[in-house]
């Protein structure tokens, strides 16, 4: 925790209630949401907060950021206590982040990365067919939207920075799907869970795209606790989240999240991503 945040939190605590602890009980728990999955779902987050707050016994403040890096940095620096982040930054920072819960999607805490192209593109059968084309990455800290395609290329001995004619970051999976659907990009690798969810709720967008291939399964983007979150709060958070799957009150919420529930999760499930991060390390990150 850095000095400035300490001062800030101290000031906040002083304003919020009696001194004695680093943060007061009624001070909101800052919960970061990477733009991985849920963009423009303000009402869902509001309902989720309403669900969480009484069960957690503490107000929750969902914090959305433009990119993964900001969320991860805020978490590591203590500005955020919890965050829903991608498996890639978690795998890289496993030593400093604690796994709180992993969503269950289609019965398992796993997801895949989809290679998608425009619906009118019938000639692309693999990533290699997109050579010299325009490719949309989601975020440099995304597993499915960045790490997966790059490692795929690197493992085939291809330099990902010179394979495409042009790449750009869309800042989110949903944006990447849209970029492909409107023709801004020729292809993209996106979170399969997000694609499935968009297909469920906004099929007119996914209809403009075609899934070329699905990767193998990876650990689902987890909810992690930063170093500033107390062990007690972490446990409470894990209890509330993992209890959602069996709580009828959370059924609607989970349905909108297109998830089955949460499990405590195993850090080892993200080993594959850590290996891929190692593989990609020698490769420049920016497009």
């Amino acid at each position: 925790m850095n000095r400035r945040l300490l001062l800030k939190l101290a000031a906040g605590a002083w304003l919020a209630g009696p001194p004695g602890s680093v943060r007061a009980e009624d001070e909101p728990v800052p919960f970061g949401i990477a733009p991985v999955f849920l963009t423009e779902m303000t009402s869902l987050l509001q309902d989720w907060r309403t669900y969480l707050e009484p069960r957690l016994g503490s107000p929750v403040l969902f914090v959305q950021r433009d990119n993964y890096r900001e969320v991860t940095d805020s978490l590591l620096s203590g500005r955020l206590l919890f965050a829903w982040i991608c498996g890639y930054p978690y795998a890289v920072n496993r030593d400093r982040l604690a796994l709180v819960a992993v969503p269950i999607y289609q019965g398992a805490p796993l997801y895949r990365s989809y290679l998608i192209v425009g619906a009118s593109d019938r000639s692309t059968h693999s990533l290699l067919d997109l050579k010299g084309r325009i490719f949309a990455y989601t975020d440099p800290d995304s597993n499915s939207g960045f790490l997966v395609p790059r490692v795929d290329l690197v493992r085939q001995g291809i330099d990902p920075d010179h394979f495409f004619r042009r790449t750009f970051f869309s800042g989110g999976h949903r944006n990447a799907i849209e970029a492909v659907s409107v023709g801004l990009a020729d292809g993209a690798h996106v979170d399969g869970y997000v694609w499935d969810t968009v297909e469920r709720f906004s099929p007119q967008i996914t209809r403009q795209t075609r899934v070329v291939s699905r990767s193998k399964s990876y650990g689902f983007p987890p909810i992690v606790a930063g170093p500033a979150a107390s062990g007690d709060l972490r446990l409470r958070m894990r209890e509330v989240l993992t209890g959602m799957g069996s709580d009828p009150a959370a059924a609607g919420l989970l349905d909108r999240l297109n998830l089955d529930g949460f499990v405590p999760g195993e850090p080892d499930a993200f080993e594959e991503i850590a290996v891929m991060a190692q593989t990609a390390r020698g490769v420049p990150r920016a497009p």
């Binding site: 325009i134 949309a136 004619r165 042009r166 750009f168 970051f169 869309s170 800042g171 944006n175 970029a179 409107v182 023709g183 801004l184 990009a185």
Partner: protein, 479 residues
């Protein structure tokens, strides 16, 4: 062809053409104005949007944020259509310095990194223009041979040009609004034309009508006698009215001139005949006198047997008949005779009354004169000749009129009858000798009258129609 067309059509046609030209000119001006207004609206609209958008594109482009740039240029298309769809851009795109697409509202049409000119012929024109003109300030480009208007805005960060924001507006996007304006102008034009054309046609026809009539009348001059040219022209004081008045005046003068010519010709002919007759009569009279004297001497002093006596007598009677005829031809009035007065008139009346009564006709006599200084004998002869002619022409129960009057320094004589009119073809030769339409006359009566009146310096004229025949004589009284 058109030049030969009647004014009746030419004037209304010209009016119609003028109305059409005016209407179309006004409509065209309105349409042009409407197009200009529309363009100004669009420009005002586009300029605001363009400058805001160019400004917000700067950070995205500096970060090379394609997605962010796309979101910005896409934003106007994600909201509900504007009130005036015509004012909505057809496409918005950002191009880099090499005029390659960086981001576009419609990525399918504008592929990233492809030259902007690849998006269609309009953009090819735009690319050529931009390549030549280079970067500048915000511009509205209405390029020839394109279907679109372009609003081009440079995206500049700290004086470093990052690219250009191009907004394209299809001209046919104006069409519905423009068509409404054109339609309205067209309807107004049609209403004006519908109202003005018949009016123009009517006025034109009215203007042309008198001219057409006048032209028709003029065409008849020469072919028809002026008296029969009955031209009813509009009475007015404008130029056409003046033309009509002038035309009528000309007709009158033409008629007077023709009458005069006819009179002059007739008078000259009669004078020539008179001179010829007189000289022949003199030529005959001289030997005739000798011959009669010789016969007289022979009969008085000569010894004639019965045959000689009979022969000379026959010769003498024949020669006397020649002398009478010649002397009848040789009309001479002598100034020494006594003056014509009421008694002479009364004598004439007495002399002719039995002839008229024989026809069971009525004589209407009117003679109110004092003695006038004119020789009585020839005037009596003139009156008797005319009245006896009238008595022969008058039908039973008819009427013969005689009026003798002296006024305005002249003696007026007028003899009328209500008999059959004199045939038209006889009228010009009425006063020539040996002209008669009755078997019992010698054809010299009117000739004698004419000679006497002429010698007295007067005029004699005749008119004859269904109402009767009228001889009028005017003889000026010596001063």
């Amino acid at each position: 062809m058109l030049r030969d067309l009647s004014l009746r059509y030419k004037i209304p046609l010209r009016g119609a053409v003028l109305i059409l030209i005016t209407s179309f000119a006004v409509t065209a001006a309105l349409i042009f104005r409407a197009y200009d207004d529309l363009k100004q609206d669009l420009i005002a609209n586009a300029q605001g949007l363009a400058s805001v958008m160019a400004h917000s594109l700067i950070p995205a482009m500096l970060k090379d944020d394609v997605w962010g740039s796309y979101q910005i240029v896409r934003a106007p298309f994600t909201v509900a259509p504007a009130e005036h769809p015509a004012l909505r851009a057809d496409a918005i795109l950002v191009v880099n310095g090499a005029l390659e697409v960086y981001a576009a509202s419609h990525p399918q049409a504008f592929r990233m990194l492809s030259p902007v000119g690849a998006a269609g012929p309009d953009f090819a024109v735009l690319q050529r223009y931009l390549a030549e003109s280079g970067a500048g300030a915000l511009r509205v480009l209405d390029l020839p041979r394109t279907e679109s208007l372009f609003v081009v805005t440079p995206i500049v960060s700290d004086q470093v040009p990052l690219g250009l924001l191009i907004m394209s507006y299809r001209r046919d996007g104006f069409t519905p609004r423009f068509a409404r304006l054109v339609g309205r102008a067209g309807v107004a034009t049609l209403v004006v034309i519908a109202a003005l054309l018949p009016l123009s046609w009517y006025w034109g026809a009215r203007l042309a009508e008198p001219l057409v009539k006048l032209a028709g009348c003029l065409g008849r001059i020469g072919r028809e006698p002026p008296a029969q040219l009955d031209c009813r022209l509009l009475e007015s004081r404008d130029e056409i009215g003046q033309l009509g008045t002038g035309f009528r005046q000309m007709l009158r003068e033409l008629k007077a001139k023709q009458d005069l010519e006819r009179q002059v010709i007739a008078a000259e002919r009669l004078a020539a005949v008179g001179r010829l007759t007189a000289s022949i009569a003199h030529e005959i009279n001289n030997p005739l006198g000798g011959m009669l004297n010789a016969i007289s001497t022979q009969r008085r002093y000569g010894q004639l047997d019965a045959l000689g006596e009979k022969t000379f007598s026959l010769l003498e009677r024949g020669l006397i008949q020649v002398r009478d005829t010649v002397s009848a031809l040789l009309v001479e009035t002598r100034a020494t005779q006594r003056h014509f007065g009421p008694d002479d008139a009364e004598d004439v009346r007495t002399l002719v009354t039995p002839d008229i009564q024989r026809q069971h006709a009525r004589l209407e006599w009117e003679a109110e004169i004092e003695p006038v200084p004119l020789p009585a004998t020839p005037i009596r002869q003139v009156l008797i000749n005319l009245l006896l002619n009238a008595a022969k022409a008058v039908p039973p129960e008819g009427r013969v009129g005689c009026r003798i009057r002296a006024e305005a320094g002249a003696l007026d004589l007028c003899v009328t009858n209500d008999g059959e009119p004199i045939p038209e073809e006889h009228m010009p030769h009425l006063f020539e000798p040996f002209v008669h339409d009755r078997p019992d006359g010698n054809g010299l009566g009117l000739w004698v009258c004419y000679q006497i009146v002429s010698q007295l310096g007067g005029r004699i004229g005749a008119t004859s129609d269904a109402g009767g025949t009228r001889f009028a004589i005017q003889i000026p009284l010596p001063a």
